[in-house]
C-alpha cells in the first residue's frame, strides 16, 4: 500500500507538524537559564587575559569582601579536592582552574559564587592575579618549530606535538602517483570557527547536603555519558548523579564536552550546600568552549590519462589548542577524516596527520559535523574542482566519470570504510537538471567574453554518520550504542524514553512517528522523553547525526519487540495460533479473517487485563541498538555566484541542494535541517572566523566580530530529494542533520574560485570575504 493511501497516523514519510512547538511559540520553553531553585547562588568565572603566562599569585581578598559574595574558588581549592584537572574526551587532561600557568586567553582561573549574577561579576573584577607573561604560540607550524615554548610542561612534555595518525596504504598510493598522467594539488586551511548555538553553555548544580544526590541541570548533548564522566572525574557515586538536560537552544557540537564551569559549579554546590547556577556569556562561549576545524590540509590527486582518479595523498596539521579535547571516538585522533576519498572510486589513498598544541582555546568539536568529516569533504571537493580547472574539464563531468557506481555498493574505500548505499550519478543528475546547469554554463561562457565574473560551484559529498558500531567506536571506553524504552499503557497510549537528546531536531515528533509506523499507535498518542538520566535508558547522546541512525533504530527495534508480544496476546484473544496472526498498522487479525480485528489498543489493554497463562504482564521494553555499520548520506550541491570586479563582493544567486539521507521519517523536519545546514555552511564559507593576533588575543569574541548569517545575506535554497535506503538500518534511514554543513562550504567556495579560474585563481581560503576576493583578483591581474 502506498503511504498516501494509509490512514494518517503520523507514520514515516508524513510531514507531521511538531509537537514541541506548542511550548516554544508560547515562550514556555524550559532552558537551563530559566531554572530558578530556592536559595540558588550564581557563579561567574575570572578568565585569563593572557594566552600564555605563569601565575605568580592570586589575591582573592577584595573579591571575597564584597557583600553578597559567598565563596571565591581557585585552582588551589580545587586541587585540595583533586579537581584542578579533569580528563578530556581525547584522553588528555585539561585544567579546570589554572594553578601553574594559563595556556590560552579566556582560560578559567577563578570563580566567584554570590547571591546574584551582578554581584558575582563585580567581584570577579576584583580578583588580583599576578601573571608572568610567556611567549605565545598561535599556529601549529610555530608550535612544532624546534625551540618553540613548551605549552604542556605540566605533563613533562618536551615539545608541542600531540599525535601522529595515518590511514590508507602508503606504498600503494606512492605507486599510483608514480604512474599518474597528472597530479593536482591544493593546500588550504579550514579555519577555526565556532558552533555558536544561540543559547550559550551553562548549568544549575544542586547537590543535596543530606543525601549527597547531585542534580545537575546542564546544556548537554550527551547527558548519560556526562553522568558517567562526572562519576569518574569527581568520584561521586553514579546513582547519586542525575543529569537533566532540559530544552537546549541549539548545540551543533558545542554542548558535547564537559567544561570547567560545570565542574566548579557542582563542586561549589557540594561545598556550600546550595544550588549554584553558571551560565556563560557570549564572549566566554566564543573564547573558551569547543571551537571547530582549524585544520591545515594539503591534498594531492593523481589522475590517469583518461582523467580517472587513481590516487589521493593527504597531509594534515591540526591546531588543537592548549588541551587535546577533541570530541570524537577514542581511537580516532583525526576523527573520521578518512572519509576523504569522498564519493569517488579512488583505489589508493594515504592520509598522514599530526596534531599540535597551541596557546588557543581547546575544543575540537564537530560543528554540525560527524568528527572531522567536514574538513575531509571540503578538501576532496575543492581538490576535484582544482583538477577540473587544471585539466580544463567540466567539474560535473569529472565527478560523473569518477563516482563510485550504484552497483558497487557496499563499497570498501581505500581508507577502510564500507559505504552502505548510494546513487551518486542520480543525485548529480537531479541537481544539474534542477539548476539548468548547461544553460548556466552557456551564460557563464558568454559573460566571460564580456569580462563578467560568474561562477558555478559543484560539490558531491559523502558523509559518514551514526557511530558505532560499538566495538570500533567509543567515547572514553563507552561503546557508541543507543537505546529506546517504550511503555504502552493500558489505554494504548505510549511513552518513549530515549538515550539521545534533541537540541532542536524535533525528536518529540519524529521518534513518535517511528512508533506510529511500527506499532500503529498514532504519533499524537506517543509522548517522547529525553534528557533526564534518572528517567531514560543509557545512551551516548546526540551529535554526529547519530540520533536517527542509532536511537531511531533502537526505537524501531523495541516497537517491533512489543508488536511481537502483541501478536501473542492477539492469538490468545482470538484463541488462534500465533503463526496465524497478521499485523498491519496497529491491527491484528487471524489469517483469512481480516474483517475481525484486534487493535493495538485492544491488545495493550489485554496486556494488563487478559494475558495468556505464563506471560509477563505489561507491554513495555527497552532495546539497546549497536549499529552494524555507520550510514553514508550523500548529495550534490550546486551554487551560482556573481562576483563584482570592482569590490570583490560575492552575490550568491542560486543554491540547489539534492540530499539523499535514505528514508525520510518527517520530510518537513529533514528539509528544515538542510536549510539550517546550508545556512551554517554559508556562514562558514563567507563570514565566520575565530582568529588570533600574534600575542594570542582572540579576535572574534563577540557577535560583532564573529559574524553569523542573518536573513538578509542568507541565500534562498532550492532543495530536492533522492531516496537510497540504508540496507542495514531497520527503517532504511540515514542521518541528515549535518549533511548540508559538511557538503555546502566546498560548493560555495568552488563557485567563487570558478568565477576567477580563467585568471588562474585556484584557491581562496575561507572565510571568502570580499577583501580576500579583491586581493585574489588584483593578484591575478583582474582589474576593474
Amino acid at each position: 500500500m502506498a503511504i498516501a493511501e494509509r490512514p494518517a497516523i503520523g507514520g514515516i514519510g508524513e510531514s507531521v507538524l511538531r509537537k514541541e512547538d506548542a511550548r516554544f511559540i508560547r515562550g514556555r520553553g524550559h532552558y537551563v537559564d530559566d531554572i530558578v531553585l530556592p536559595n540558588m547562588l550564581h557563579m561567574a568565572i575570572l578568565r585569563s587575559p593572557h594566552a600564555h603566562a605563569r601565575i605568580r599569585s592570586i589575591d582573592t581578598a577584595a573579591a571575597a569582601a564584597v557583600p553578597g559574595v559567598i565563596a571565591v574558588v581557585t585552582g588551589e581549592l580545587m586541587a585540595q579536592h583533586n579537581l584542578a584537572w579533569m580528563p578530556t574526551l581525547s584522553g588528555d587532561t585539561q585544567a579546570v582552574l589554572a594553578t601553574d600557568k594559563v595556556r590560552f586567553q579566556g582560560q578559567e582561573v577563578a570563580c566567584v559564587v554570590a547571591e546574584s549574577k551582578y554581584i558575582a561579576e563585580d567581584a570577579v573584577g576584583l580578583i588580583d592575579v599576578d601573571y608572568e607573561p610567556l611567549q605565545a604560540v598561535t599556529t601549529p607550524q610555530q608550535a612544532l618549530d624546534a625551540g618553540a615554548p613548551v605549552i604542556r610542561d605540566d605533563k613533562g612534555a618536551t615539545d608541542n606535538h600531540i599525535y601522529h595518525w595515518e590511514a590508507g596504504d602508503g606504498p600503494a598510493t606512492e605507486a599510483a602517483f608514480a604512474r599518474a598522467a597528472k597530479v593536482v594539488s591544493l593546500s588550504t586551511h579550514y579555519p577555526r570557527c565556532h558552533p555558536a548555538p544561540l543559547e550559550t553553555c551553562g548549568c544549575v548544580a544542586d547537590v543535596d547536603s543530606v543525601t549527597g544526590k547531585a542534580t545537575i541541570h546542564m546544556t548537554s548533548q550527551a547527558p548519560h555519558a556526562h553522568r558517567t564522566l562526572f562519576a569518574l572525574v569527581a568520584g561521586l557515586p553514579e546513582q547519586n548523579i542525575r543529569i537533566i538536560s532540559p530544552d537546549i537552544g541549539g548545540g551543533f557540537g558545542n554542548k558535547v564536552p564537559i567544561y570547567p564551569g560545570y565542574v566548579v559549579a557542582t563542586a561549589a554546590s557540594l561545598l556550600l550546600g546550595r544550588p549554584v547556577k553558571w551560565v556563560e556569556d557570549r564572549t566566554e562561549n566564543l573564547i573558551s568552549t569547543g571551537f571547530a576545524r582549524d585544520y591545515h590540509m594539503k591534498g594531492e590527486l593523481a589522475l590517469d590519462a583518461d582523467n580517472r582518479f587513481i590516487g589521493l595523498r593527504v597531509g594534515l596539521l591540526s591546531d588543537n589548542g592548549a588541551f587535546f579535547s577533541d570530541a570524537q571516538p577514542s581511537k580516532f585522533k583525526a576523527g573520521l577524516f578518512h572519509i576523504v576519498t569522498g564519493s569517488y572510486d579512488i583505489p589508493a589513498a594515504h592520509v598522514v596527520g599530526d596534531g599540535a598544541y597551541t596557546n588557543k582555546a581547546p575544543g575540537g568539536v564537530a560543528y554540525r559535523c560527524s568528527f572531522r568529516v567536514t574538513e575531509a569533504s571540503f578538501l576532496i571537493e575543492r581538490l576535484v574542482d582544482t583538477a577540473a580547472h587544471e585539466l580544463g574539464v567540466d567539474a560535473a563531468e569529472l565527478r560523473m566519470r569518477n563516482f563510485i557506481q550504484p552497483e558497487a555498493f557496499p563499497y570498501r574505500s581505500a581508507t577502510g570504510f564500507e559505504y552502505d548505499s548510494g546513487d551518486y550519478p542520480r543525485a548529480m543528475q537531479v541537481a544539474l537538471e534542477a539548476l539548468g546547469y548547461d544553460e548556466l554554463r552557456r551564460e557563464q561562457a558568454e559573460k566571460r567574453t564580456r569580462g563578467e565574473l560568474m561562477g558555478i560551484g559543484v560539490a558531491s559529498f559523502t558523509e559518514v554518520v551514526g557511530a558505532g558500531k560499538g566495538r570500533d567506536y567509543d567515547i572514553v571506553g563507552l561503546r557508541m550504542f543507543d537505546s529506546a524504552e517504550l511503555r504502552v499503557h493500558p489505554t494504548g497510549k505510549a511513552v518513549l524514553k530515549l538515550g539521545v537528546k534533541s537540541q532542536g531536531q524535533g525528536h518529540e515528533t519524529t521518534f513518535a512517528q517511528i512508533v506510529a509506523e511500527e506499532l500503529g499507535i498514532p504519533a499524537a498518542d506517543v509522548a517522547v522523553e529525553e534528557g533526564d538520566t534518572d528517567n531514560t535508558p543509557y545512551g551516548l547522546g546526540t551529535y554526529a547525526s547519530r540520533s536517527t541512525p542509532v536511537g531511531g533504530a533502537a526505537t524501531a527495534m523495541i516497537a517491533r519487540k512489543l508488536r511481537d508480544k502483541g501478536r501473542q496476546i492477539a492469538a490468545h484473544l482470538f484463541e488462534a495460533d500465533v503463526a496465524d496472526i497478521e499485523f498491519e498498522r496497529g491491527r491484528y487479525w487471524v489469517k483469512g479473517s481480516p474483517g475481525e480485528v484486534k487493535t493495538i489498543q485492544d491488545v495493550a489493554f489485554a496486556a494488563y487485563s487478559n494475558i495468556p497463562e505464563g506471560m509477563e504482564a505489561g507491554l513495555e521494553g527497552v532495546h539497546y541498538y549497536d549499529p552494524p555499520n555507520m550510514t553514508f548520506p550523500f548529495g550534490t550541491y550546486l551554487v551560482v555566484v556573481d562576483v563584482d570586479r570592482g569590490t570583490g563582493v560575492v552575490k550568491v544567486r542560486r543554491v540547489v541542494a539534492v540530499d539523499d539521507c535514505g528514508v525520510r521519517i518527517n520530510p518537513m523536519i529533514v528539509e528544515g535541517q538542510i536549510h539550517g545546514g546550508l545556512t551554517e555552511g554559508f556562514g562558514i564559507a563567507f563570514m565566520e572566523l575565530i582568529t588570533f593576533d600574534a600575542e594570542g588575543n582572540c579576535i572574534g569574541s563577540t557577535f560583532m566580530d564573529y559574524l553569523l548569517p542573518t536573513a538578509w545575506e542568507t541565500p534562498r535554497f532550492e532543495t530536492f530529494t533522492t531516496v537510497t535506503p540504508s540496507p542495514h538500518h531497520p527503517l532504511g534511514a540515514k542521518g541528515v542533520g549535518e549533511s548540508a554543513t559538511v557538503g555546502s562550504p566546498a560548493a560555495y567556495v568552488n563557485a567563487v574560485v570558478d568565477a576567477l579560474a580563467p585568471y588562474g585563481v585556484r584557491n581562496i581560503d575561507m572565510p571568502v570575504t570580499s577583501d580576500k576576493v579583491w586581493a585574489a583578483m588584483r593578484g591575478a591581474g583582474v582589474t576593474e
Binding site: D21, I25, Y31, G249, G250, P667, V723
Partner: protein, 168 residues
C-alpha cells in the same frame, strides 16, 4: 529605584538597581523567561521585546528606560488561549527548531505586520535581520510571517521522489 511598567497589559512595579538590564528585570525580577539572552551585544535579537509596540533589544536597555512604558514579551502575544497569527504560522510553516530565537523572531514579525500588513519577502528579511537564527536558515520564518499576513506562501522546491517504505 522603583520601575513601573505595563507588561503584556498588566501594570507591574518592582525595585531595581539603576544598572539592571531590562532583560534581567523581565526574566529575573518579573519571572517571565520567554525572553532569552543570546549575545549581550544586541547582535542576536534573542532578547527582543516590544517597547510601546516597537522591537527593542532588552539586553541593551536598562529597566529604568522602560519605566512608564508598555512592554510586550512573547508571553503577551496570544490573546488568552487564542494564538497570535504569527504564533500559528511559525508552527504551521516549521519556522522554529530549538525555539531559542523564536520569541524575538515572532515579536519582530508581529510588529512588522502591525505597520505593514502585506510585507514583501525583502521587507520581511530586512525586518528580521537584527535577529539571528542558527537552526532554520530563515526561509520558513519568512514563509511563516507571510502566512501570518494572509499572504501566499511561495513554494521554493518540490521533492523529485517521495520516501519509500523501510527495507529491513
Amino acid at each position: 529605584m522603583k520601575v513601573n511598567l505595563s507588561l503584556n497589559g498588566a501594570q507591574r512595579s518592582a525595585e531595581a538597581e539603576p544598572r539592571t538590564l531590562l532583560v534581567d528585570f523581565i526574566r529575573t525580577t518579573l519571572g517571565l523567561t520567554g525572553t532569552h539572552i543570546g549575545c549581550d551585544t544586541s547582535s542576536c535579537g534573542a532578547c527582543t521585546v516590544l517597547l510601546d509596540g516597537r522591537p527593542v533589544k532588552s539586553c541593551t536597555l536598562l529597566a529604568a528606560q522602560a519605566d512608564g512604558h508598555n512592554v510586550t514579551t512573547v508571553e503577551g502575544l496570544a490573546d488568552g488561549a487564542i494564538l497570535h497569527p504569527v504564533q500559528e504560522a511559525f508552527h504551521t510553516e516549521h519556522g522554529l527548531q530549538c525555539g531559542f530565537c523564536t520569541p524575538g523572531m515572532m515579536l519582530v514579525g508581529a510588529a512588522l505586520l502591525e505597520r505593514n500588513p502585506a510585507p514583501s519577502e525583502e521587507e520581511i528579511r530586512w525586518a528580521i535581520s537584527g535577529n539571528i537564527c542558527r537552526c532554520t536558515g530563515y526561509m520558513n520564518i519568512v514563509k511563516a510571517i507571510r502566512r501570518a499576513a494572509g499572504l501566499g506562501v511561495e513554494v521554493h522546491s518540490e521533492p523529485v521522489s517521495t520516501p519509500t517504505a523501510g527495507v529491513a
